[in-house]
């Protein structure tokens, strides 16, 4: 109900045009879809460990290709959460990108370890409350901005990287199809709103995704062979609309956390400015 990860998986599979093999890192998606003896998957699917999904995909891709005259006749898609991608799985993802395996990596980013109960990850935004970044007089929530996953992917000179939102479904489908069509590795970073961890009502997931894009909190863009392009550039709405709609940021509106709120707003603004510069072919500074 209102789970961004489930919508991400369903829409990704709807987008694919060829037979697919799915590799899933440990996380919400694996747990919610495969409680034995049931499975929600009607495609070949494997879950191994938390940090090795890209490595498992490397083996599948290499073998499948070798059995098919060196060509890929199907899609290999990896689903990893932000913990399995930004943090513990980053090494195996980097290795798989560097080796140029032909697969699409879809990170469903709900900005914390939601499966284990809302602990901070490398994707948790500045100032957010989680169970391991509690809020107290001496603790303002998470300290420091989230990692830039697309930049990490692009550091491997991959041909396609994009951000996507389940709210913007047409854009989402186009991006998954472009990523799957690329020969070699491709990365799609999806913001997957989490009612439980972000503290909002389950019927607000799609609206939350829309606000994230409209407030420039999570800009939609794609990078083809190093060329940045904004997917949508809406007239910006106040970031407060997005932040105030979620319990995880509620403390930031108390006077004692004004500094932290300013830091988060500044981070979002800087990210947007850097993206605009990149879209103009400039190297951003901050």
């Amino acid at each position: 109900m209102g789970c961004g990860a489930a919508i991400t998986a369903r829409m990704t599979l709807k987008s694919l045009t060829r037979p697919a093999i799915i590799v899933n890192a440990t996380g919400c998606l694996e747990v919610a879809t495969t409680i034995y003896p049931y499975t929600a998957w009607h495609v070949p699917w494997v879950h191994g460990l938390f940090e090795n999904a890209a490595a498992i995909a490397s083996g599948i891709e290499t073998y499948v290709k070798s059995q098919n005259g060196g060509k890929m006749d199907r899609d290999i898609v990896v689903f990893g959460g932000d913990g399995g991608t930004f943090d513990i799985g980053l090494q195996s993802l980097s290795g798989a990108f560097e080796r140029r395996h032909d697969f699409t990596y879809v990170c469903y980013d709900n900005e914390a370890y939601m499966n284990t109960g809302i602990q901070r990850s490398g994707a948790t935004p500045e100032g957010a409350w989680t169970t391991t970044t509690p809020v107290s007089q001496t603790s303002p929530g998470k300290i420091g901005p989230k990692k830039n996953l697309i930049a990490i992917g692009l550091a491997h000179h991959i041909d396609y990287a994009a951000t996507a939102s389940t709210t913007y479904w047409s854009d989402f489908i186009t991006k998954i199809q472009k990523a799957a069509a690329v020969e070699g590795p491709a990365l799609v970073h999806v913001l997957a709103p989490c009612p439980l961890g972000w503290r909002f009502k389950t019927d607000q997931t799609i609206q939350m995704g829309r606000m994230a894009v409209q407030t420039r909190y999570f800009p939609l863009y794609e990078v083809e062979k190093g060329r940045y392009k904004l997917s949508t550039n809406p007239h910006p709405k106040p970031l407060d609309d997005f932040l105030k709609a979620q319990g995880r940021f509620s403390h930031l509106y108390k006077p004692e956390f004004a500094e932290e709120l300013a830091a988060l707003k500044n981070e979002v603004e800087q990210r947007w400015n850097a993206l605009e510069q990149l879209c103009q072919g400039k190297t951003p500074t901050w």
Binding site: P19, A20, I21, V23, N24, E30, V31, T34, I35, Y36, P37, T39, W41, H42, V43, P44, W45, V46, H47, G48, L49, E51, N52, A55, I56, A57, S58, G59, I60, E61, T62, Y63, V64, S66, Q67, R74, Q91, S92, S94, G95, E98, R99
Partner: protein, 396 residues
């Protein structure tokens, strides 16, 4: 026996022999990460792939964790798969070892046995594999380059047997087996092909017949999955006997789970794994000439442990000396002694067991040391039964 070929001996190291065996086994996929003393295996394999001697795809990955993970992917996709590692690399693979066994991937891995850090040490002992002995892999210890070669080929036959469907580690002592050059009798390709047809997996990642692998399995089913793995291990001896029998018919070389030496009328015997076993038999033979009632037992198959057979071979002895090349710090004995003692429990005769720790981190185990160990055992025959553990050849 009529089909048996004449042995052709070629000088090669254990690592080169393993690489040759992998190519001859028609492996489809190899993934590995370099670690001393395993490196020669992957270097020679890379050469053989580059020379077009095999259709296998070889991917060099960024860690042992990813190496075995990539192997799991290729194995689930239907391939025959090989990897090799050692020491820290095996330790880094630890959780992937359990995954491989739980997903029932019949991967074969050569382990160039080496000590674990700290302090760092690149030489041979059994700490690495013993640290993962409960991971659900079949574990066999080769004694020399010939055995390492023969066992890579036979391992696929056992691992891929449908009753087993379990990964297999061929252990070979770092340097002593991996780097020593010995005469190795190679089998020609057509004979290997006859012995080992290509893999035909029944369960795989197949877009025409989709299956889900690696489900979340809760308390209501988890035990059933583990019980099936236990049953698969119990099926290993039957598969082992069939495969080794076929192998003997083609090569004349015969392998057993246990290799007893002069045990029938012995009072004292040393139990060992791996490369030390030959030296132990040589010393035992010399002591026998002097009239001393000594024998030896090599454990080739360590998991599944041949408990009943071990007990039958050892229960009549006065003293069983276990040569331990790994520690279980804080326990009353090392891992091998623990298996031996539990095999002898509740038997009619219960020999005294001496657990002798030697050969850690590549420390040489000389014939003189082994003779001393035998003499310690002979002196202990008159003393009460029990379990003692001591280090030999160590500074105080």
């Amino acid at each position: 026996m009529s089909q048996m070929q004449k042995p052709k001996f070629v000088p090669m190291s254990g690592s080169e022999a393993v690489a040759k065996a992998v190519v001859q086994s028609n492996v489809d996929f190899v993934s590995a990460y370099p670690i001393t003393p395993q490196t020669i295996i992957v270097e020679r394999l890379s050469d053989l792939v580059a020379a077009g001697e095999t259709k296998a795809k070889f991917i060099n990955v960024e860690s042992e964790h990813s190496a075995l993970s990539a192997c799991v992917g290729a194995s689930l996709a239907g391939g025959r798969v090989f990897t090799a590692t050692s020491s820290q690399g095996l330790a880094l693979m630890h959780e992937v070892l359990y995954l491989t066994a739980g997903l029932r991937c019949p991967i074969v891995m050569a382990v160039a046995n080496r000590a674990l850090s700290a302090p760092i040490n690149i030489h041979g002992d059994h700490s690495d594999m013993m640290g993962s002995r409960d991971c659900g892999w079949i574990q066999l210890y080769a004694e020399n380059a010939q055995e390492a070669y023969d066992w890579i080929i036979q391992a696929y036959g056992i691992a891929e047997d449908e009753r087993v469907a379990t990964p297999f580690s061929v252990n070979m002592d770092g340097y002593v087996i991996t780097h020593s050059v010995e005469p190795v009798s190679l089998i020609d390709n057509s004979t290997v092909n006859k012995f080992l047809p290509s893999r035909k997996p029944t369960l795989k990642l197949d877009t025409d017949n989709p299956m889900t692998f690696g489900t979340l399995t809760l308390p209501d089913y988890y035990t059933e999955f583990k019980k099936q793995q236990d049953e698969a291990m119990r099926n290993v001896p039957a598969a082992f006997d069939e495969v080794t029998k076929d192998f003997t018919q083609l090569t004349g070389r015969h392998y057993e789970r246990l290799v007893p030496f002069c045990l029938d009328d012995a009072k004292v015997a040393i139990v060992s794994l791996g490369s030390a076993s030959g030296t132990i038999r040589w010393v035992a033979r010399n002591l026998r000439k002097k009239g001393l009632p000594v024998g030896a037992l090599k454990i080739a198959l360590y998991r599944p442990f041949p408990t009943e057979e071990v007990a039958k071979l050892l229960e009549h002895l006065d003293v069983v000396i276990v040569l331990e090349r790994a520690l279980s710090l804080g326990a009353n004995c090392g891992p091998l002694a623990s298996d031996i003692v539990s095999s002898l429990y509740n038997r009619t005769g219960q020999p005294k067991v001496l657990d002798i720790v030697a050969g850690l981190g590549g420390r040489d185990l000389s014939p003189e040391n082994i003779e001393k160990i035998y003499r310690t055992g002979l002196e202990a025959t008159s003393q009460p039964t029990g379990l003692e553990m001591e280090f030999v050849g160590v500074r105080e």
